[in-house]
């Protein structure tokens, strides 16, 4: 029982990291119709910025906050100076550009900081707490709660604020939104910036566990994409639930299904993904696109 609970909590924690990147992908996709493959790479860059700062003996929390600000600017700049040239053209071209960007960022990070694993300090103590006789790591709980808090803030931003309303309007119909005076181009920059912030949060939370390398989030990106498809591109809540499901399932399967083990656990979400795509192509929580004439 203790092992089971610990596996579920750890699964939720890694799932939360996938969720943050998946949400970033959904955010950019809903604003621009693009899947940004560089989302993980940009997050790694943010983690390196935080790491460099902590090495200059900047307190960890300050370093992470600085990396979040850096990410917002990075996201906005990438939209303004790179993606804008491709947003109105063929979406396939734009997606390939994001893949190129991922390769470029990984290369730059490797060149600047080498491909060796770097220790990244944890935001949470590494102790465990005892709950109903089960010991659970504080880091897992902290990671999960951080992502839940980020989700709530994001939800409030979108539903309760004028900026959120404007971002949603631009995502639905940029041209029509402009007719009401919405500065579409600036709002797209904000959207990319916010997505990059989500990535930075994910990076800072997962770096202590995985140790920092340029390819640290490559696997997480794949899982996040699985969560995006599974949850449905149109449903932020669905995407988070799917990411948690993936995190928990891969953990449980590795331990309880003997022939899967730790080597094959990466296949678990994809088997799930395959089944869902066959049965429900719009994802578990997504909506079918209905065109009204």
């Amino acid at each position: 029982m203790g092992e089971f609970v610990q596996l579920v909590v750890d699964g939720l924690s890694t799932g939360s990291v996938y969720a943050a990147i998946a949400l970033a992908i959904v955010l950019v996709h809903s604003a621009t119709g693009l899947v940004n493959f560089a989302q993980g790479g940009m997050a790694v860059l943010a983690a390196y910025v935080a790491w460099v700062l902590t090495n200059q003996s900047v307190p960890l929390v300050v370093a992470v906050l600085a990396s979040i600000v850096f990410s917002f600017v990075l996201g906005a700049v990438v939209e303004r100076y790179l993606m804008r040239r491709f947003e109105r053209g063929d979406p396939d071209t734009a997606v390939v550009v994001t893949i190129g960007l991922l390769t470029l960022i990984t290369g730059i990070a490797g060149w600047l900081w080498s491909y060796n694993n770097q220790q990244f300090p944890s935001l949470f103590p590494l102790d465990t707490v005892s709950f109903l006789g089960v010991s659970i790591s504080i880091r897992s709980i902290g990671t999960t709660l951080s992502i839940v808090a980020v989700m709530i803030v994001l939800q409030l931003l979108f539903v309760r604020t004028k900026l959120g309303l404007a971002l949603r309007a631009v995502a639905i119909n940029p041209q029509s939104a402009a007719f009401s005076g919405l500065p579409v181009e600036r709002l797209l920059m904000v959207g990319w910036g916010l997505a990059a912030v989500l990535g930075a949060v994910a990076g800072a939370l997962v770096a202590p566990q995985l140790t920092l390398t340029p390819g640290m989030l490559d696997n997480a990106l794949v899982y996040a994409l699985a969560a995006v498809i599974l949850g449905g591109l149109t449903s932020p809540v669905g995407v988070v639930i799917a990411a948690w499901m993936i995190g928990v399932l891969e953990n449980l399967a590795a331990v309880y299904v003997p022939f899967i083990g730790h080597d094959l656990k990466i296949a678990v979400p994809f088997i799930l993904l395959f089944v869902v795509l066959v049965v429900r192509p719009q994802g578990l929580f997504g909506r079918k696109t209905v065109v009204r004439v």
Partner: protein, 236 residues
């Protein structure tokens, strides 16, 4: 006094020249119609004004050259474009659509009053205020599109085919409300309409476009009396 002035406006989509020198003016508080067959350049004229297509010539609003401005900058000058196909934001509720319309305004109280005004003008929207715009009927979406325009407190409204795809009685209701809006608000209007009968209930003067040029310009009464207008646009 002239509010909007177009002089020799040209525009093209790629190599295809759509506007070949359109000239018209809208006086303050006035309403001007643009009539013409499909492809004559009616919608493109509105798009040239709102900055959605690149245009040549002169486009002056309230004494200011607005040609080359981005659509959001044109909107900020006080021009509300109610586009063909309505442009309602489907995943947003009716109220949210109205608030998007008020994006550039800061006067909380005025915004609330204008929401009330829209719901009074289009009572159908009142009971749908929390529905998603995509769940509205075609007529209700058109009402919402006009209301979103009202919410930006414009001095000029560009109305593109407000009757398109609507049942005749619905189209008439929409035009009745727009006429009331015109009288009560004094918003100037530039109206593109296939249905010339409807257009003539709203506008004082109109210009007829043919292949991107003005073919005829006159008052509603003059135009209604012309045989060729009757044959071409008024059904005999």
């Amino acid at each position: 006094m002239t509010l909007l002035e177009l002089e020799d406006v040209t525009a093209s989509y790629g190599p295809v020249q759509v506007l070949d020198g359109v000239t018209l003016s809208v006086p303050e508080n006035g309403a001007v119609g643009i009539l013409g067959a499909n492809g004559a350049g009616k919608t493109t004229t509105l798009r040239a004004i709102s900055g959605t297509v690149r245009a040549g010539g002169r486009i002056v609003f309230d004494g200011k050259d607005i040609r080359g401005m981005r659509p959001d900058q044109v909107a900020a000058q006080g021009i509300a474009h109610v586009p063909e196909g309505r442009g309602t934001l489907g995943d947003l509720t009716v109220r949210e659509n109205l608030m998007v319309g008020a994006y550039l305004r800061k006067d909380r109280k005025g915004i609330d009053e204008d929401v009330d005004y829209c719901l009074d003008l289009f009572p159908n929207l009142r009971e749908r205020i929390t529905s998603n715009a995509s769940a509205l009927s075609g007529g209700e979406q058109q009402m919402l599109a006009v209301s979103r325009g009202i919410m930006s407190k414009p001095r000029l409204m560009l109305l593109d085919e407000a009757s398109l795809g609507l049942a005749p009685s619905t189209a008439k209701n929409v035009y009745d409300a727009i006429r009331r809006l015109r009288v009560e608000s004094g918003i100037a209007m530039l109206v593109v309409e296939q249905n010339a009968n409807l257009a003539f209930t709203l506008v004082d003067t109109a210009t007829v476009l043919e292949t991107g040029r003005n073919a005829l310009t006159g008052s509603s009464a003059e135009l209604k009396g012309m045989d060729e207008i009757r044959r071409a646009y008024l059904g005999g």
